[in-house]
Subunit: 285 residues, 2 copies
């Protein structure tokens, strides 16, 4: 079967840098691509920061300077052809813009060797939205990571009806070999598994708040005690970030979601309270 | 303010017996009412069983034979007038039939003294559906317990627009004094807080399964890893019981819920797999 030894990650933002570092940390030869030297400079400091986090949080395998040593497995480049020349797997983690991703896959289809598997990390697009632009729909699928990859260590793997099952299996194996629990999704589904579960819970919590049924603290306490979960829905909102929550709610056509978007904007976003990242959201940190 | 010292529980089924025992365990004088001597005999063995559980599971305060001693605080009777003659609070936990509950409250309105607060533990009816039959809507509200009260120790307190705020506060205080975390619900809401959050999550999981997106094991694993919760949605289904899940789904008008009801019936209920209680449901125990 297809074996994945070399990984190229396109885009070194918050999640792209985590995907690249996590694989490097687990011994893969990883190439990280971004558009120019300035972006690469930023990537270098993101990688160093991640090494610090893995060491400080004592991620398994990070002892004895190994988190720092993983940086040696990362090769950075702003040349797309160079980036993908020997890649077994390319994962794109560029901004969530359909045409940007399509253009990128079109360029890749010429630059990458025939063996290369293409993957998208898109949260909001389906792989079917992109497959035609890849020139190799049988070697294309989605692999979706959650933020803070070293804690929420799942990788959701989802193909289209055209994805070759051996390619699917190879990416599942790669996910496992890079220290993640592979979540095998059998059929294309917007939101994958995690967001398909999480969004209805978060929406229900928002609705209780907006209807005046109970406070965020009461709602969270109920959830924690009754289910044993470490966090209630409003604590999760603060982790996800209220800007992301706002963007999702504001782009909905549902009346309740739009009302929640306005509520978030008026009470939190316009006041600079964006969740844990700014020290205040539904809770103060 | 109104202080609650004596409690009467009407109905000694699974939840009624837990409500009565939990209060007796925390030192309240509790009267448990059921319809005849046979029902009371069953109640007696339920209470003894609960004392055993509290001791075996080392519920705080159960050491030194105190779980057994709590049985002394329970008075059993099949005489409704005797049961409520000196009750500060009456909680009904009879079957979920609107007319049965209405009739009961009509009888109580004559039998109970003016001081007595009436409460329903109904999961599926709103207190507004019942308040007119109580003859004292200002002294009437809902207090909703979760099964396995000694673990999921919340009590959701929810009034109607007519409930006197001092009555609401007294019941919140009673819940706290009986070892539960009171969940103060500010506005009537079907499903209270807990089921308003839980049902959308469980529905979303059922939908992923029926659409063929992923297996129960994969869905549960995703939820556990990504949220840190001890149980995924299908583990929760097995705890709640598949008969309850079936009844809720089958009474819906939603196409997806009805499909899930049929799926549960064909694959589980007709085969005697009802969840943890029978040793098999989505998982084998």
């Amino acid at each position: 079967m297809t074996e994945i030894r070399t990984l190229t990650v396109l885009g070194t933002g918050v999640l792209g840098s985590q995907i690249a570092y996590q694989a490097a940390f687990h011994g893969f030869a990883v190439t990280a691509y971004d558009i120019d030297d300035q972006a690469l400079e930023k990537a270098r400091s993101r990688f160093a920061h991640l090494a610090g986090i893995y060491q400080a949080q004592q991620v398994a395998g990070a002892e004895g300077g190994k988190a720092e040593a993983a940086l040696q497995n990362l090769h950075l480049t702003a040349d797309l052809g160079d980036a993908v020349a020997d890649a077994d797997l390319v994962i794109e983690a560029v901004p969530e813009l359909l045409e940007l991703k399509r253009d990128l896959f079109r360029r890749l289809s010429d630059l990458a060797p025939a063996k290369t598997i293409f993957a998208t990390n898109s949260s909001t697009l389906l792989p079917s939205d992109l497959k035609d632009s890849t020139g190799r729909p049988d070697r294309f699928l989605a692999i979706h990571y959650a933020n803070n990859i070293w804690v929420q260590n799942i990788a959701e793997v989802m193909g289209t009806s055209e994805t070759d099952p051996t390619v699917f299996d190879a990416v599942v194996e790669f996910a496992g070999n890079s220290g993640l629990e592979p979540i095998e999704i059998k059929k294309e589904k917007a939101g994958y598994v995690l967001n398909s579960l999480l969004v209805p819970l978060l929406n229900a919590a928002a609705s209780l708040l907006l209807q005046g049924v109970a406070s965020p603290e009461t709602i969270d306490k109920t959830w924690r005690i009754a289910t044993g979960a470490p966090s209630g829905p409003f604590q999760i909102y603060d982790v996800v970030g209220l800007t992301t929550a706002y963007n999702i709610a504001a782009s909905s056509t549902d009346v309740g979601s739009l009302a929640f978007a306005k509520y978030l904007k008026d009470n939190y976003i316009d006041k600079g309270k964006l969740g844990i990242s700014t020290g205040e959201g539904f809770y103060t940190y």
